[in-house]
């Protein structure tokens, strides 16, 4: 039977349309992929992002380039990805904050934490420790609670700023342990931890890796961890949930 050229063309086009997704996947990546980290270089997220980017570059034989776009509690970098062309050449690796805590308090968010992103996976989790200054003289969460109840509002906790994870952590502790403590915001995680180390504040819910050296030097005591399991870096320090303080202490992981 005679096939018109047009018919052939239509047949060919439909084959191409079906073949395109596979071809796109095979060809990807054909140029450098940008991996946005919405926080400054140097922290735990930066380590994770850089290691993952290096492994992807090796696997694909094509560069995956890390770009730190910090500011606005992660919302500036997250927004840059939300606005990028959705072609796989811009990826976001972030902790949950710009999609959870910050989204919960932001007056206006430039992206929709639910609809602006396509989830790839969650790669890891990173939990906090409850660190108290050694001079406080408490060696368990129960003793800390007893001391807090004796003088409501007298104990203080530091954080990297209003709405930061340590702020939420301290407020959550107040609710779950039914105590009153006073929040003291600092400008960043490092000064917040220094304040706990120098006894400017009584305690802090801080990253385990950050508090660990001060526990070793004896300036801080680790009373508990926010994760579901003990941390191998703090042997013998039990999760808060195992010390009579039920609840979901930690967010879901670094993503």
């Amino acid at each position: 039977m005679y096939d018109s050229p047009m018919r052939k063309l239509i047949a060919l086009l439909s084959v191409l349309a079906w073949a395109l997704p596979t071809a796109a996947q095979d060809a990807y990546p054909s140029r450098p992929v940008r991996m946005v980290l919405p926080f400054p270089a140097g922290g735990p997220l930066d380590l994770l992002g850089r290691l993952a980017a290096q492994k992807l570059s090796e696997q694909w034989g094509s560069p995956v380039v890390v770009e730190n776009i910090a500011g606005g509690t992660g919302s500036i970098g997250a927004n840059a990805v939300a606005r990028a062309t959705p072609d796989g050449y811009t990826l976001l690796v972030t902790v949950d904050i710009p999609l959870t805590m910050y989204a919960a308090i932001a007056r206006s968010l430039p992206y929709d934490p639910e609809k602006s992103f396509k989830p790839i996976a969650s790669l890891a989790r990173s939990d906090n420790g409850l660190f108290v200054n050694a001079a406080l003289g408490v060696s368990s969460v129960a003793e800390l609670v007893a001391q807090a109840r004796k003088a409501p509002g007298k104990l203080t906790f530091s954080s990297a700023g209003i709405g930061s994870p340590a702020h939420f952590g301290g407020e959550l502790f107040k609710v779950i342990a039914n105590v009153d403590m006073t929040h003291v915001p600092y400008k960043g995680a490092a000064p917040a931890m220094s304040a706990a180390v120098s006894n400017e504040v009584s305690l802090m819910f801080g990253p385990i890796a950050q508090g660990l050296p001060h526990v070793k030097s004896g300036k801080l005591r680790a009373l508990g961890v926010t994760g579901p399991d003990a941390s191998p870096l703090l042997p013998g320090v039990k999760p808060l949930v195992e010390q009579g303080f039920p609840g979901r202490w930690s967010s879901t992981p670094t993503r």
Binding site: G88, A121, S122, I162
Partner: protein
């Protein structure tokens, strides 16, 4: 995360690449030493957890009067 609208085939390829990367023993050790626990979570479960966290942090923010400084 990728921008919404990223083709499934490409997201799948990135996911497979990351899964392989995260199974590397040397990488896992470096993360563990930095108190990062390499636990893998698939996208559906991740989105569910994020939605739950948003809800519970919103509730806590209201209760504790945590307001964004900017």
């Amino acid at each position: 995360m990728a921008p919404a609208g990223t083709p499934d085939a490409i997201a799948d390829k990135v996911r497979a690449g990351l899964k392989q990367a995260m199974s590397d023993p040397a990488l896992r050790e470096r993360l563990s030493n930095a108190a990062i626990d390499p636990v893998w979570t698939e996208p559906a479960e991740l989105m569910k957890a994020l939605a739950e966290d948003r809800k519970r942090w919103s509730e806590l923010a209201k209760r504790a009067n945590i307001q964004s400084p900017s």
